[in-house]
Symmetry: C2
Subunit: 706 residues, 2 copies
Amino acid sequence: MTGVAPHAAWLPDDAFAAIGSRRVVVAGDGALTATIAEEVAAATARFGGAFSRLDVGDGVSDAELVLTLAPSLVEPVETIEVSTRDASAGSGAAAEVSGIDESFRFMREAGAVVVQAGTDAGLLHGLFHVVRLGETAFDGPDTDETHAPATDLRMLDHWDNVDVHPTMGQVERGYSGGSIFYDNGFVRADLSRVERYARLLAAVGINRVAINNVNVHEHEARLLTDDLGDVVRVAAVFRRWGIRVHLSVSFASPVTLGGLDTSDPLDQDVAHWWVRAAARVWDAIPDFGGFVVKADSEGQPGPFAYGRTHADGANMLAAAVEPYEGLVHWRAFVYDHRQDWRDRSTDRARAAYDHFHPLDGAFSENVVVQVKYGPLDFQVREPLSPVLAAMPHTRVALELQVTQEYTGQQQHAVYLGQQWSQLLGFRFWEPDGVGGGSPTVADLATGRGKAANDPGTGRWRKPAGGFAAVSNVGDDEFWTGHPFAQANLYAYGRLCWDPTLDPGALLDEWVGLTFPGAPDAVGEAVRAVLDRSWETYEQYTAPLGVGFMVRPGHHYGPDVDGYEYTPWGTYHFADRDGIGVDRTVRTGTGYAGQYPSPWSATYESLSTCPDELLLFFHHVPYTHVLHSGKSVIQHIYDTHFEGVSRVEEMIGEWSKVSTLVDPRVSERISERFAEQLRSATEWRDQVNTYFLRKSGIPDERGRTIY
Amino acid sequence: MTGVAPHAAWLPDDAFAAIGSRRVVVAGDGALTATIAEEVAAATARFGGAFSRLDVGDGVSDAELVLTLAPSLVEPVETIEVSTRDASAGSGAAAEVSGIDESFRFMREAGAVVVQAGTDAGLLHGLFHVVRLGETAFDGPDTDETHAPATDLRMLDHWDNVDVHPTMGQVERGYSGGSIFYDNGFVRADLSRVERYARLLAAVGINRVAINNVNVHEHEARLLTDDLGDVVRVAAVFRRWGIRVHLSVSFASPVTLGGLDTSDPLDQDVAHWWVRAAARVWDAIPDFGGFVVKADSEGQPGPFAYGRTHADGANMLAAAVEPYEGLVHWRAFVYDHRQDWRDRSTDRARAAYDHFHPLDGAFSENVVVQVKYGPLDFQVREPLSPVLAAMPHTRVALELQVTQEYTGQQQHAVYLGQQWSQLLGFRFWEPDGVGGGSPTVADLATGRGKAANDPGTGRWRKPAGGFAAVSNVGDDEFWTGHPFAQANLYAYGRLCWDPTLDPGALLDEWVGLTFPGAPDAVGEAVRAVLDRSWETYEQYTAPLGVGFMVRPGHHYGPDVDGYEYTPWGTYHFADRDGIGVDRTVRTGTGYAGQYPSPWSATYESLSTCPDELLLFFHHVPYTHVLHSGKSVIQHIYDTHFEGVSRVEEMIGEWSKVSTLVDPRVSERISERFAEQLRSATEWRDQVNTYFLRKSGIPDERGRTIY
C-alpha cells in the first residue's frame, strides 16, 4: 500500500453535496441500510443538512429525501425461466432462478424525493442513483420510476496473486501497482483500501467480485481451504456494500490440496471432496458467490486429463455448490496454446465454439459459461465470439477486460465504453447487426430477449449469465494508474446495470462526479480526449482486425512479428504480397461458418466483410481496395499517421484544462500522455516500416517511413 | 545444491591411474605442495602405488615420478616490458610487471619422470600435466621440456548473483542450474562444490576467478564491504588450488555503500573511499586478485555521469589497488543501449573502438581493458573486435563466453574450441589473417608478439592483458547442463595456457580424461559430434554474420525480427529486396575503417569481404552471389536445411556409442539432443519462412518452406 491516500475517484465528498444539504430520512433495517445511514449522516453533517433514521412507515412530513424499505410498494422483479435442451422430453423442467431483488423505485413530487426498495441492496443502489443525479434529482417534474438491473450477475474478476508471481507479478495484467488484497504472500492486515473499493463498486452497481487470479497458483489454491479465514475477512468488507465474494479455484485441488490421486470429475471421492470444500466455504461465508474456473487452458488443469468434458467438470462443481445457490463461472477460453505455426488448418479462433457449442444444454443450471467477447483475447478489434450466439440453452456470461492488457495498459488514454457499447448492442441475427427485433448480445447475456435461433418452441427465454470483467484496479494512488482509466471501471459497472446506456453520457456522469464543481470545459476536454480514444488506439496499433502485433509476454508496444512464429495461434501471415488470415469456409479455416446467418455470409465474402475486420477473415493483397476506397497498404499508412496526430490533438485538448483539476491528477495525466505519444509514435513507425519493407509500396503522400 | 553428487568431469579417479600405480615422491613446502601431496597420496592408495613426501634434495633413487620444488633448475620466466604512450617523454618509464611463476620442467629419463618447478603453483600445473598425459607420461624417449603459460592472466568470470534476480535469476546467462557459490541471498555454508570446481579449474590452468556478476546489484555490491567475510571463505577454497579471487564492483559504491554524494573518480573523498575499501579487502585476503568493472554499460554506473573518461575511472581504482599488485579489469563493452532503430548512422559495433581507442596509453599499468572478441556480443559469428588491434599501449584482455548464451544455451551440443582457436590465431596485419610474422590475437592478449603497428621505435612488446571468459558452470549434476559443454570449459582453460593448442586435440584430451577406459569409438563419436558443431549451429541459426535473430530477453531460439525495432543496436535491415548492415566507410557506418590495413580494405569491399561476414559489413540483394557461387537467399535455405541434417547425423553418431558411457551421462545427452533437433528444426523453418515470405524467391530445390 502506498503512503499516499487513494484518490476519491467518483465519490469525492462533494459528490454528496446535493444530498448532504437536505433533510434526509433513512428508514428500514438490515446491514446495508446501516451503510446507507452512515453515508447520509456523513453527508448531512458535512453540508449542513439534517439526517433522521426512522422505522419504516414512521411520519416523514418535512423530509426532502426519503430512503425507505417498502416491500409492498416495489414491483416484483421479473423472474427468469430456464429451460434445458431436453425440456420437452420432460427430464429437465424449467426452473426458476432468481437473484436478490436489487430494484428500487424513484419518486419525485414537488421537489421531494422518495426512494423505495424491497431490499436494502436495492435501497443502496437507489442512494447512489440520487448521488449520480446530484441536484437534478430534486429538480424537475414529478416522476415515478422503477429501476432494476439488467441482470443480477454483475461481476468483476481480479487476477491478483497472493504470492508475487515470478513473471506475472502481484497482479497478472495489472497496471496499477500492487494488489489491494494481497502483499507479497499475505492477505493485507489493513483492508481499508478494500472497503473504499467496495464503496466505489457499489456506487456503479457491481455486486460480485472474484478476488484471486484465474491462473490459480499453489499458494492461491489454499484460499479455498487453509486460508479461508482470509477470504472471510475480505467477504465481510464487501458485504457491507452488497457485494458477494467469489473465488477462483484450481480444478486439480482434490489432488494438490486434498491428497487424492485424481481430480476426475466423475470420481466419487473427487465429487465428495468438493462437496466438503463447498460446505466449509459456505459455512464460513453464507453469502459466498461461487467458484470461477479456468480449466484446460494455458496449462491450467481440467477435465480433459481424465477424458471428461467441460460439462462433466463444471456440473460436478455445480452440484457441490448448488445447496447454497452458489454459481460456477466456467471460462470458455479453451484452446491449444501449443499450436504449430506451420499448420494453417488449426485456428485458435474456432476453439471456444468447437469445444462448447456441442455442450449446449448439458450444463447444470447454476453453471455460467464465461465467454470472452471475441474469439481470441481482448484485442482492440475482434468480431464477437460466435459462442455467445451458439448456446441458447446455457447461461452465458459476456467477459470483458477493463484492465487494458491489449489497449495501452493504462499508459494510454483509451476509453472502452464505445467498444463495449458496440459489443453489447450487436445483433447476431440482423443483417446490419444493429437494428431489428432479435436479441442483442446484452440480451443474450441478461436473458432479456427472445433468442431467434431457438430450435424448439420459441417460447423460452435464454437463461442469463450476466457480465464479468477483469478489474483494472491496484494500490496505485489513482486506483487505475491512468486517472482516465477510472472511467472504464465506472462505465463497466454502469453498463452491467443497463447495457443500453450511452457511453458518452457515462463519461459525462463520470466527469460530473469525479471533478465536481469543475468548469464545463473540463468535461468537454474529457469528451474530446476520450470519445474517440478507442478508435484512435486502433488506428496506431494493429490494422483492420489483424490483432496481436504486440511484444510477446508483456503485450505492450509493437512487435509485428512478435507472435508470428509462436505456439500461441495468433498469426497474420504477412508476406511480400499480402496479409491476413483466411477464416472463410470456402478456402480457409471455416471459422466464419460458426456465425449464424446472415453474419456467416457477411464475413465469408470479401465484398461484404466490414473493413475493420477484413484481415481477421481474409488474406488479401496489399493492393486490395477497401470499402473506404483506399488500398490496404495505404489504409495502414494513413491510419498510423492519423492515429499519432490524434494523440497530439488529445494532448492539446487536455492542456487547455489541465490546470483546472487537482494538480496531482493533472501531473499523472501529463506523464501518461508523454508516454502515450512516445508509444504511439513507436507503433506508427514500426508498423509502417515493417509493411513498407515487406510490400515495397511507398506511401502515396510521401511521409517519412524508415 | 542438488542432492546428487556432481559428475567428476575430467577428473574421475581413473584419470589418476597412471600416477597412482607408481612410486611417487613429492618434495617441497607450501600450501599447494600439500594439495599435490594429497592428490598423489589418494591416487597411490587407490591404485596400489607408493607415495613419499620428502624435503627438496633428499634421495629419491627408485621413484618413478618425482614432483619437486627446485628453484634453481627452472628457467627464469620471461618478464614483460610495459611502456606507456608517453614513455619517450620520460614521465612513465617502462615498468616490469611479473606474475607468479607458474612454469614447470618435465623431464623423462628411462621411463622415470621428474617434474620440477620454481613455485608450488608451477608444480601443481606439472602434476596435472602428468595426469593429462597418463601412461604416455612415462612412455617414450627421454625428454627435458619447460612448460610455461602464455600469460599469467587466465581468468573465469562468474555472472552469479547472490540474490535471485527478478529477471536474470541466480546466475545471469546461466544454463546449469543454480550458483555453486550462492543460494537465494546467501553464500553457501557448504563450499565443497566450490572446492571440486577449483580442482577442475586448476587442472586446466585457470588461475583467477571473479565470483560475482558484472551487473552488480544492491546486495552483491556489499561483498566488497559488509559481506567481505563471505569472500574470505570462498578465497580460502580457491587458494588451495592456486586460484585468486576477484570481485565485480559497482562504480557507484562510494554513493551506495559509502554514503558519499558522488562517485566522481576525480573527487578526493571518492578516491579515498576506494583506497580504504581496497585496504580492507587485501587485509582480509592478501592474495586477492582485483576488481572487475562494467561501467557506463547497459545501465551500470560509470565515470560518464561525472563527465570523466573511462581512463579517469579505471585509473582511480587502479591507484587504490596498486599497493597490493591488484588489477582492475575494466570492460570495454560500452555502447548506447537506448539507440533509435530509425537512425542508421549510429552503429553499436563502432562503440567500443570509439570509446577506447582514444584512451590508448592513458590507462595505468595495472588496468586491464577487457574486450569481447567481437564488436557486438558473443554471436556465433562476428569479426574480431578492432579494439584488440587498436590499443598497443594498453593491457588488453580477450573476453570469451564459455556459457553458451548465443550458442545454444547448453541445450545444443556446440563445441567452441574451433571458434576460439580461429579468433586466437587471427592476425590483423596479414592479408589472409592466418600466416605471416605479425602478432596473432593471442599475441596481443599475452604480450608475446611484436605489434606491427607500433607507432614508435618498434622495440617494445605489447603489455599483456591475458584472457577472461564467462563461466558455464552451475550446481547442475554435470556442472554445465549438457555434459558436452564441459569440453568448452576444458578447452578454454587449456587455450589460456597455450593458445596454439589444436581444438580437436583438446577434445581428445577431454574425452581421454572424462571417459577413461572407454572404447576408442567413444572418442571418435565425440569428435564426429563436436568437431563441426560450431559451424553446424551457425548453419541453422543466423546466416552470413548477420547475428541476433534470437528471442529478445532470454536469447534462445529464433526470432528474426526480435531485435529489429528495439533500442539495442542490433539490426539486419531485411526488406523485400535484401538484407545486411552497411558498415563500409564509403556508404555505411564506417565501422570497417576501424580495422588496420589490410582488413579495413578487405571488409570494405563487397568483392573481398569473406562470405561468412558478408551481412555484417554489407547490405546486399537476396540475389547477390557469394564467393561460394550461391545466391544469398539460396545460401540461407541450403545452410538451414543442411544444419538440421547435420544435427540428425550428430545424433546418429552418438547413438552408436551412447551405451558405452555412464547411463546418467547418456540419458542427459539424449535429452539434450532431442531438444537440439527440435530447436534446430524451428530455427530452420522460421528463418527460411521469414525469408521466403520476404523475398518471394523459392528454394531452387523445392524443399518445404512454410
